[in-house]
């Protein structure tokens, strides 16, 4: 007896790459008994309108996420470092388009 009962199905995050896209984008999540089933269900739930040519599924439990409470210390220090943006620099005219 290898398939878990419905209430024990783990959650999976679904990533789909569109025909034009170069990267897989997160598009949602679903419950499934195992990875193969998650892939099939993702096909039926998220690519019904030809949205994708490739699907990844990842166990949600395998994702380590940042804590929203830490937002301040993680992201605010970057706010005043405008020199990290290319627009901070003036480009000499001789360079032309970059």
């Amino acid at each position: 007896m290898n398939t878990p009962a419905l209430k024990d199905w783990p959650l999976w995050e679904v990533f789909v790459r569109s025909k034009q896209g170069l990267e897989h984008k997160h598009c949602g999540s679903l419950h499934a008994a195992d990875a193969a089933q998650a892939l099939h269900m993702a096909r039926d739930v998220y690519t019904r309108r030809q949205e994708g040519v490739s699907i990844w599924v990842v166990p949600s439990a395998a994702i380590t996420a940042s804590n929203p409470d830490d937002k301040g210390e993680l992201f605010d220090p970057a706010a005043d470092k405008i020199y990290r943006h290319p627009t901070f620099y003036e480009i000499p005219e001789e360079v032309g388009h970059m």
């Binding site: 007896m1 290898n2 398939t3 009962a5 419905l6 679903l30 419950h31 499934a32 008994a33 193969a36 089933q37 099939h40 269900m41 039926d44 739930v45 019904r48």
Partner: protein, 260 residues
Amino acid sequence: MKAPVEYLLHLADNAVVLGQRDAEWCGHGPILEEDLALANVSLDLIGQARLLYQLAAARLGGDATEDKLAYFRDDTEFRNYTLLELPNHGPLVGYAASDRDYATTIVRNFLYSALMVLVWDALEKSADADLAAIAAKSLKEARYHLHHAADWVVKFGDGTEESHARAQAALDHLLPYTEEFWTPSAAEDTAVAAGATVDIRTLRAAWDALVADTLAQATLKRPEVRGYVPEGKHGRHSEHLSYLLAEMQGLARTHPNGIW
């Protein structure tokens, strides 16, 4: 050479009747993802039926249309396998929606799609070019249907005690109906003679192997089959088909020239 219309109707009726049965789950699936998956299967089947009815109507000529073939023929004119018209529950159970049994639906889809991956594969090489084109499109769909159903058969069989018992009961109930696959009808014989299809009996070994492989993974036992061979494809149906058609055809018959 062209396939006889009777043979096209056999294929079309199979697809539309199972499409209708599977569609009964729409909005009532066990989980959201599966509700969508089964509706997808259903829409594939109805799409196959449309192509086949359109081809049959074109060959019949006159005022034949796909809608007339689907909605204005009576149960004795339908040429589908009896297996496909059976309700989505086991024998000796009431007709309430809550009596629907997903294992019955899945096992039926499994037994039928295991046949159709072989039939469409053979029909891709049909001497009937129109039928071969429909087969090429349908084969991809049937492969997905088989994958989907077989996956669930394994999960049910190799799942909890209850899911195993339900899957085994569904298999015991439905497998005897597959005997009908292997006794060719006159329409099938004519289609074989025209080079439009293969003798269905030549597919039996491959079907047995497909079924055995999945049942082994699912730890399910294949019941012994003997006795009665259903004759749905000859137009002799169970009592369930006319109820199914009443629901499917009611709207079109109440508003015969309705357009929507």
